[in-house]
Symmetry: C2
Subunit: 243 residues, 2 copies
DNA sequence: GCCGATTTGTCCGTATGTATC
DNA sequence: CGATACATACGGACAAATCGG
């Protein structure tokens, strides 16, 4: 039994949808019916439904009901969604992930790094270069910059596993949000070497740059995540706003 | 005066943040203070703040307050955000947009098109190929497939302007949500020709495929949007879920 | 076309829990 | 410890959209 009711209802409905207890285009029970089913207030039901809307699982229609628009086919292949570590998304996608640390060093941000990352010049950082394998195939090169003062005690050993696990479980840091930008960039020699790419095939790749904030309001991480173009897939659900 | 209170509060706070009335890292007034300021309930204030959180404008911190993490610099250059037409985003980005219709035809979905778009074989569709210019530079080629039964009376003339405007204002359709996937693909001869690209420079590009739903729960549009790699920028804010 | 029942959307006031300071 | 601030949850009221009779 989870602590929060809306979380329980959200997960329960989500599972029922995924298991096709409601089929595509069906309406879910009305809010009032769900209030009876789960023994809670209408606000709580509405909150759970609202989360399903942003997930792209359902759409709510004024005066009509809540319609299931989830299609299992959308979820195939390796997808990138919310904030999650490589390890987490590997597990979610039911793939075997492995990480190799190419570089681990401490450095002080100069003008060039400051412009690129958004950290102030003179800031002490960890710089980590990592190669992520999925089912033994190298797919992603990550260039991480972590704020040393916010992430003390980071080691290459930790970087081999999951840095987020270390941050959350050992340092008890709360990761809040991440501003991400997807662009397309030319392949570098490093990409070519480690991702086993051929410039005569693809000469550019998908790049996700992200600035991640913790609950102290500090941007503690800047990461450039370079993805093999043929395996890259970034998924999103947008809701038309009437505002 | 807008119809809804939370919308008014959301826009007001958003504007104050953008105009740096609260500076970066500052806390906004507490929820109770905002209740006094706007003369509304705490729920309403919280709803406005929740929207700002998903926008990546603020972060809420239990027991502390709501912190402004908006940085004007993040908003530079042409960005792709929620569901909006090319015309709308041109205006939002304060650029001069123009659209040229390359093809306009009616067709019936065969097996191949059905697999690609998600429409059933035999469905009658409009197929439109359009080239979008920004400041007289060709940046995007769109391949639109519209469900004919849901979008009757579409013409090449309308496609030159804004199809969404036609859907919403003339057909009174309500666009609800759009499932999008960003990938990287090889440049085709069509891309090369119209976007004035050189394969020796970039040989691939950013592609956004989207399936858009209306309030009848019908997927009425499948679009493949092919973007010049050097001008492509897809922006996003992810919130770490504790669920 | 109207009316009433149903359903979602907006908003309010209140109570209690939990984290921060 | 108490005061403050956000988080969860409840119950109720009314509006707006839909649908069937």
């Amino acid at each position: 039994m989870p602590k929060m009711k809306y979380e329980y209802i959200y997960k329960d409905l989500k599972q029922k949808i995924e298991e096709e207890e409601y089929s595509y285009q069906d309406f879910l029970p009305s809010e009032n019916a769900l209030v009876q089913i789960y023994g809670c207030s209408r606000n709580t039901v509405r909150r759970a439904i609202g989360t399903l809307v942003t997930d792209g699982y359902v759409q709510t229609l004024h005066g009509k009901g809540v319609r299931n628009i989830f299609r299992p086919i959308d979820q195939t292949s390796y997808t990138i969604g919310g904030i999650e570590s490589f390890k987490e998304s590997s597990i979610r996608n039911k793939k075997d992930g492995r990480t190799r640390v190419l570089q681990f060093m401490e450095l002080t941000a100069d003008e060039k790094i400051a412009r690129k990352t958004g950290f102030s010049p003179g800031t002490e950082l960890y710089y980590i270069q990592r190669l992520h394998y999925l089912d033994e195939k190298p797919l992603i090169i990550n260039h991480n910059y972590f704020l040393k003062s916010a992430v003390p005690g980071l080691t290459a050993k930790i970087a081999e596993g999951s840095i987020y696990e270390y941050l959350e479980n050992t340092l008890h840091m709360t990761i809040v949000n991440s501003k991400r930008v997807v662009t397309v960039e030319k392949i570098t020699q490093i990409d070519e070497k480690y991702l086993e790419l051929d410039v005569n095939d693809y000469n550019c790749m998908a790049v996700i740059t992200s600035q991640t904030y913790n609950s102290d309001g500090i941007m503690f991480e800047f990461t450039q995540s370079r993805h093999r173009p043929d395996y890259f897939r970034f998924q999103d659900n947008a809701v038309r706003k009437t505002l």
